[in-house]
């Protein structure tokens, strides 16, 4: 408290001077009336703003950014690929009375949509009676004939979590711009925004008595659990995300925050007409699926004409049998057609016996001749949208089209009128938005989230996602980046605080720690690629040193050494073809150092490592992610462009090594030693051994006498990060014999195969044994036994001559085989679940 008595809601007298905030001429503003007085509900905000001024505003932005960064929110590793909604900390505030109207309107629209959906996948009376034009529905890409006789029911939840985009017109009435029934994005962003904003403006948040949104999530999860075919008490609920969803990270956030398992289509499999989750510990039954993917991509067997295996084949059959509950109906996307808009008023009276509370944006369907005429006559003032037939038509804004474009559009509409609607372009109201210079008015749209429970009762989230245009007169689109806002709904009495995580513990959703197989597979590959990158980088380093400092062996020999080492690298990393194809030494170095696509090059492996890590990003600490990002970004920034002299790569290789070491170190410090860790570690160790045996086999095959042999041995030890150890142990120039002894047999030496095998055996014990075959770690034991037999032979009295050389080669090759078998075994047993017969 800073000495000011807390006044009751809405009774503060504030007049906002124009220099502080000035809405546009003739445009309705949500916060400030034309007379300079705040709209009911905004007084506390302006009072606070007046006290803090422009500096305060800048600080709020700063703090918002910092909190987002600290919580890993603003930090989106996939940014640049999808839309990124940065956060404006100024909330969009609604008074209790204002909100009441919106809530009732949204609830009505939700009930209406549910009734339409039930009819479309049931009796289709609405089509029989001409209340909806048949062609709007029958041509819509989201109308799934495969579910023609599957109306929403107990398990098949018609509308899941639904989103409506709302905006205010000049007269102050609220319009519906869009409905999103299939995969409404933005829920995670709304949650993120709330967690940040109530930390940026805690006092204002308290004074405004903002309603909490956590209860809404809690109700939603309880509702999902209730729909489980196996009873709410033990239902496994998953959130099904799409692999290519650009907003996937917000779903990741949502899942993490709510403690629910996020899965991708490839994580699920249908067996015996039930849905299972492929987890490291085996197949686990799935009872409830909350899908945020397109329904038409859900079951490639029944809904996708393209012959691809994306999605979950057999899913629709599971839905028909009711072995799994799904929200929403996969065919709900049809409700998104703007072709329905002109008919909603009549439908509402017909189906609910009520008048519409919120009006849809005024829309004309061109399949109706009179409407078409009107649209064509007013084309330059219209927004033209596709009704959602199978074609790629991007929404056009008549105002922004040239006369040529307008006449093209006219011809298009004339050719297939039933495929288009015209919509009035709404002059939407503005809300105050923070900018570097101060507060400015920006056009705003609100996405409101809601669902119907089992009794048909609507639940509307008291809040939502606000989106503002990036500049005056710019159209707001979900698909593009921009600024988002938290939405504050004020109440007369304060809500009890709620932590969503804690509430979920009390809710009936059980979501024990499950590691989806895909995540396990990515971890395993992160381990392998990390090691591979490390190793290739050391190869590269050795090659660069050869060029810059040299090894004092004379130019001819060193050139030959470089050639052999490059060929070893190509051989070890299965790029043998390059040995023949590329012979110029500089081109070869360029492939390794500067080419982003060469399988034996640094760049490609850095990228693969990064991708594998990001695909399992739930596993890493924020600092670890920073290390991976820096590793990748620095490498590509430092090595882009033409290959030049090797000098410039020295630094970059060093940086890369440092970042990778930081990543490994951070993981050692922060990761739980569970099965996920086991796979990461197993991947790294299998990779390191595979590289080691391939490299040693190569050296034995080329069989160079000294001095070339000596230099090569030195390089092998260098690449294996063991040159220093060798020198301090043997105090001599490296021989193949002793290099083998060190790299294969040294006790307690993390670079030796002996040690690697012991570790591998230990980490594989973290994995749950499959039902019908030997546990993974038991597959390592014979290899370890063979190694000790071989080591005894290696270290016996006999000189290291051709016979022993041959024996070593045979041994190394057999190890390579068996490591590859082990890899196949891990892949089929834990990742693809091939061979499961439940």
């Amino acid at each position: 408290m800073n000495g000011i008595a807390k006044p009751p809601v809405g009774l503060i007298d504030v007049n906002v001077p124009p220099e502080l905030y000035r809405p546009g001429e003739g445009i309705r503003d949500e916060a400030l009336r034309p007379d300079g007085n705040p709209v009911h509900g905004w007084a506390e905000f302006f009072e606070s703003y007046q006290r803090h001024g422009g500096e305060g505003l800048a600080e709020w932005r700063e703090v918002a950014l910092r909190i987002s960064r600290d919580r890993g929110l603003a930090y989106r590793p996939d940014r640049g690929e999808g839309p990124h909604w940065s956060l404006d900390p100024i909330p969009w505030i609604f008074s209790p009375e204002e909100w009441k109207g919106i809530e009732t309107g949204v609830a009505q629209m939700l009930r209406l949509s549910a009734a339409i959906l039930s009819d479309l996948y049931g009796p289709q009376r609405l089509l029989d009676h001409g209340l909806i034009p048949a062609s709007v529905i029958l041509g819509h890409r989201g109308f799934l004939r495969a579910l023609h006789d599957c109306p929403p029911g107990d398990r098949l939840i018609g509308l899941g979590l639904t989103a409506f985009d709302l905006a205010r017109g000049p007269g102050g009435s609220t319009y519906i711009l869009n409905g999103r029934f299939d995969c409404p994005y933005g829920l995670g962003v709304a949650l993120e925004n709330r967690t940040v904003v109530n930390r940026v403006l805690p006092n204002l948040f308290r004074r405004c008595q903002v309603r909490r949104i956590g209860y809404f999530f809690n109700e939603w999860f309880n509702y999902l659990a209730e729909r489980s075919p196996n009873g709410a008490e033990n239902s496994r609920v998953v959130i099904l995300d799409s692999d290519n969803g650009s907003e996937s990270s917000e779903i990741g956030f949502l899942a993490n925050y709510c403690g629910i398992t996020r899965v991708l289509p490839t994580d699920l499999t249908v067996r015996n007409s039930s849905v299972w989750l492929k987890a490291l510990s085996g197949l686990m039954p799935v009872d409830v699926i909350w899908k945020v993917t397109h329904g038409r991509d859900l079951d490639p067997l029944e809904a996708n004409w393209r012959f691809t295996a994306e999605g979950v084949p057999g899913m629709f059959e599971a839905i028909r049998r009711g072995t799994v509950a799904v929200a929403s109906h996969p065919g709900a996307e049809v409700l998104q057609s703007p072709g329905l808009f002109p008919f909603l008023g009549k439908l509402c009276r017909e189906l609910l016996g009520e008048d519409l509370i919120l009006s849809p944006a005024e829309t004309w369907w061109c399949g109706d001749p009179a409407s078409k005429k009107y649209v064509l006559e007013n084309l330059s003032g219209m927004v033209i949208k596709s009704v959602g037939h199978h074609s790629d038509f991007r929404t056009r804004y008549g105002q922004r089209l040239s006369s040529v474009e307008l006449s093209e559009l006219r011809a298009r509409i004339e050719a297939d009128p039933e495929r288009y609607v015209g919509q009035e372009e709404l002059q939407i109201s503005t809300v105050p938005t923070s900018q570097v210079g101060g507060l400015v008015p920006r056009g705003a749209v609100m996405r409101s989230f809601s669902f119907l429970d089992a009794r048909g009762e609507p639940h509307v989230m008291p809040g939502g996602l606000g989106r503002v245009s990036t500049a005056e007169g710019v159209i707001i689109s979900t698909r593009e980046s921009g600024e988002s806002k938290d939405i504050w709904v004020r109440s007369l009495a304060p809500d009890a605080p709620i932590s969503i995580e804690r509430r979920l513990e009390q809710s009936r959703v059980i979501s024990p720690e499950v590691v989806p197989s895909r995540r396990g597979e990515n971890l395993y590959w992160a381990g392998r690629y990390g090691e591979r990158t490390d190793s290739i980088a050391r190869f590269a380093n050795r090659l660069v040193i050869g060029r810059t400092a040299g090894f004092s062996y004379g130019r001819n020999l060193e050139a030959r050494h470089e050639k052999t080492l490059v060929e070893a690298l190509f051989r070890v990393f299965e790029a043998d073809l390059l040995i023949e194809k590329v012979t110029d030494p500089n081109k070869r170095l360029s492939l390794i150092l500067a080419d982003p696509n060469c399988p034996a090059g640094v760049g490609r492996n850095v990228a693969s490592f990064y991708r594998a890590c990001m695909a399992a990003r739930e596993e890493w600490s924020l600092t670890s992610i920073l290390a991976i990002e820096s590793a990748r970004n620095r490498w590509f920034a430092g090595t882009s462009g033409e290959f030049e002299s090797p000098y410039r790569y020295e630094n970059e290789l060093q940086n890369l090594a440092l970042h990778l070491a930081a990543f490994h170190g951070l993981n050692l410090d922060s990761m739980t030693r569970d099965e996920a860790w086991g796979l990461l570690d197993a991947g790294a160790r299998i990779e390191r051994m595979s590289i080691l045996v391939s490299l040693l086999a190569f050296i034995l095959e080329v069989d160079e006498p000294a001095p070339m042999g000596t230099l090569l041995n030195e390089s092998v030890l260098f690449v294996s990060d063991s040159l220093g150890t060798y020198q301090s142990k043997f105090h001599s120039v490296p021989t193949t014999d002793y290099a083998l002894r060190l790299l294969l047999g040294e006790e307690d030496y993390p670079r030796s195969m002996r040690y690697l095998l012991e570790r591998l055996e230990t980490v594989l014990q973290k994995l749950k044994a499959p039902a019908r075959s030997a546990p993974a770690h038991e597959r390592v034991a014979p290899l370890r036994d063979d190694l000790s037999v071989f080591l005894r032979r290696l270290e016996d009295e006999e000189e290291f001559g051709p016979a022993k050389r041959q024996e070593s080669l045979v041994f190394l090759r057999s190890v390579r085989e068996r490591l590859s078998d082990l890899h196949d075994y891990l892949t089929t047993t834990y990742f693809s679940h091939v061979g499961y017969h439940g």
Partner: protein
């Protein structure tokens, strides 16, 4: 009415280079029983034994069979054996009594089987646009021409102007390519004709079935020599659905045995499957249509 009795054996066999552990399949192999055709016997044998089987009706009234195989296999065989009675008729081109440019079909209207005609008028995911047939079609669009006569001419033109060339296309070849190369198989011929009819507002549907082939005079019929076939049906209020076979330029009669119909090939694909496993597959299809 005289009836012809056929025994049809449709065998599909997949062999895989690796092991397949899970296979979900949807079959459209059981003939419809309407329009005078009668099924006397029908069975679908699947090897290895499916874990789940389900027969149901799709939105076009076809009978579909879902099955899943959940045991490891490297060979899969599906044999559909059917005995049908087919009316032995000679088909004459009926008259619709309406010019094609006067024909107006409301998409919400239902045909005799209760399916809305809009299904057969609108674009489908595989054929989102009719634009590529416009040029081909335009010389035939003489104003005032009776609808069925026009349909018949379009069939004849496809038969004459497109080359029947197995291997020229696959099921994924887009309509534009077929129009460009003017070659394809019965599926492509049917898709071209369907798109042409829909583009001028005539409801058209895709029919999958079999065609009895006759051996050259004096030769015995070869086992497995027949094939799945596809043709087209067009609708007007006076005629209902009328069949047209653009691959052979004739009106389907007793030698055409119908299995299913839909908007395009992808609605009625005889056997569609998605497997989990590794390796490549080799497909072998044998069809015998035997007059009894």
């Amino acid at each position: 009415m005289n009836m012809v009795r056929y025994r049809i054996r449709h065998r599909t066999a997949y062999s895989y280079s690796g092991r397949i552990d899970l296979y979900h399949s949807l079959a459209h192999l059981r003939p419809r029983e309407d329009e005078g055709q009668e099924t006397l016997a029908h069975c679908i044998e699947v090897l290895p034994e499916p874990k789940v089987r389900a027969e149901r009706r799709d939105s076009f009234g076809n009978i579909t069979n879902y099955f899943s195989i959940e045991q490891s296999h490297d060979f899969l065989e599906v044999i559909a054996t059917t005995t049908v009675l087919r009316p032995d008729i000679i088909t004459m081109l009926p008259s619709s009594g309406v010019a094609w440019d006067d024909l107006m079909v409301a998409p919400g209207l239902k045909d005799a089987s209760g399916v809305r005609l809009g299904n057969y008028l609108l674009p489908t995911p595989a054929f989102p646009s009719f634009a590529s047939v416009a040029e081909f079609l335009s010389p035939s669009l003489v104003p005032g021409r009776e609808t069925m006569e026009l349909v018949n001419e379009i069939m004849g033109r496809i038969f004459r102007e497109f080359k029947y060339l197995p291997g020229a296309t696959d099921t994924g070849t887009p309509l534009e390519s077929v129009m460009k190369q003017r070659a394809g198989v019965c599926q492509d011929f049917s898709h071209v004709m369907i798109s042409a009819l829909r583009s001028i507002g005539i409801p058209a549907r895709y029919v999958s079935g079999y065609l009895e082939t006759l051996p050259p005079p004096g030769k015995a019929k070869l086992q497995g020599a027949d094939a799945s076939h596809a043709w087209v049906e067009a609708w007007t209020p006076a005629t209902g659905w009328v069949g047209f076979d653009p691959t052979n330029n004739l009106l389907p009669a007793s030698r055409h045995v119908k299995i299913c119909h839909g908007r395009d090939y992808f609605d009625v694909q005889p056997l569609k499957g998605i497997f989990l496993g590794t390796g490549t597959q080799t497909l072998r299809v044998e069809v015998d249509v035997e007059r009894m």
